[in-house]
Symmetry: C2
Subunit: 211 residues, 2 copies
């Protein structure tokens, strides 16, 4: 019972910290604000976390868990590797849209100097490379396509949409992702594969289009 | 004579501020550090700038001038709109690589909350849209291509390369840009246009490739 309460308190502190980091930035965030927004005492915060860096590390870890979980949840059996890739991009965008912990943790993992936790953008790059290698092995890629060129391009474009979305939310929406996939999938997939590239991207790719 | 010295001092302060913002971040940068690194007194700094926000605004403005100039310098007569677009992307990458004021100003223009200066990423998006509209008017785009999908994709990918390059310089190099253009130009340009897409991209596209 006592332990359940401790888990709840820790979760509330992580969420409150994420909101505070997102609003004020890591440097200007105050521990007192994090604890009071979570409805707990300064002592309770210090029971869980030694200092601000430890709180930030916990936010990063929680974000990594949430984002990995979101990607795993859409990798259903029977999907080919390109369907997995597009589905993963939409899942990450949705998780970042609805979860302040995922957003704040992603930004901390990229921005804090001398971080020690996971670099979530590099992790996404590794995921893109893995899925493109699988797509090549599954014979889905058009003949002229070089997976390394494509993985750099896809990682860069999705990262760019996320960053631009930080300043203006209309950049990191299913609609913006759909524009991107609309443009690149025909360059990437064999024509006969493209026709079947529906399940994961279906709703996305049929969203209002550019013209 | 006195005025020339004032112009030089102002330039030295802007450069020193850019270095300090890049090293410490805007929030933690100290005016005393900026003036002493520029080799001038605190009084001299205050003669030119009322406060840290004014210094940052001057860095942003100088970055905008440098980046616009870099793009203009590569837009030589006789180039078609797609050549202008690729050339602009390489020019921006090179300017950001060699000029700390351009880098710091770009980051300030995107990150400082409640900024009033130019948003340089939005400005790049406008430039991409303009050049793609010109490419369409010049009959360079493949038939299935929707310029708005492409401008979102190109803006996102180039922004992503720049952001990823902030953490790991190998992301924002001519080689990484070449991988991107290698992948997207064949999806974008009419086949007969692609063959001629050399002058601007020539050196870039013949850089060491992925395999």
């Amino acid at each position: 019972m006592k332990q359940q309460r401790a888990v709840r308190t820790r979760g509330a502190l992580i969420r409150s910290a994420a909101e505070t980091f997102e609003r004020c930035g890591y440097v200007q965030a105050k521990l007192a604000e994090i604890s009071s927004s979570a409805g707990v005492s300064a002592g309770a915060l210090h029971f869980h976390f030694a200092n601000k860096a430890a709180v930030a590390a916990a936010v990063e870890t929680a974000a990594a868990v949430a984002l990995r979980g979101a990607v795993r949840a859409v990798q259903t059996p029977g999907m080919n590797a390109l369907q997995r890739l597009t589905a993963a991009s939409y899942a990450i965008a949705e998780e970042l849209r609805r979860d302040v912990v995922a957003r704040a943790g992603l930004h901390l993992s990229c921005r804090t100097p001398r971080r020690t936790g996971p670099d979530l953008r590099q992790e996404w790059h590794a995921c893109v490379r893995r899925l493109l290698a699988a797509a090549e092995a599954e014979g889905l890629l058009a003949d002229h396509v070089r997976p390394e060129d494509v993985s750099v391009s896809i990682t860069a474009a999705t990262t760019g949409l996320e960053v631009l979305g930080g300043a203006d939310p209309c950049w990191f929406t299913p609609g913006a992702l759909a524009r991107f996939w609309h443009f690149v999938l025909p360059c990437l997939a064999k024509p006969e594969v493209l026709a079947a590239l529906d399940p994961a991207g279906a709703t996305a790719l049929s969203l209002p289009s550019a013209r």
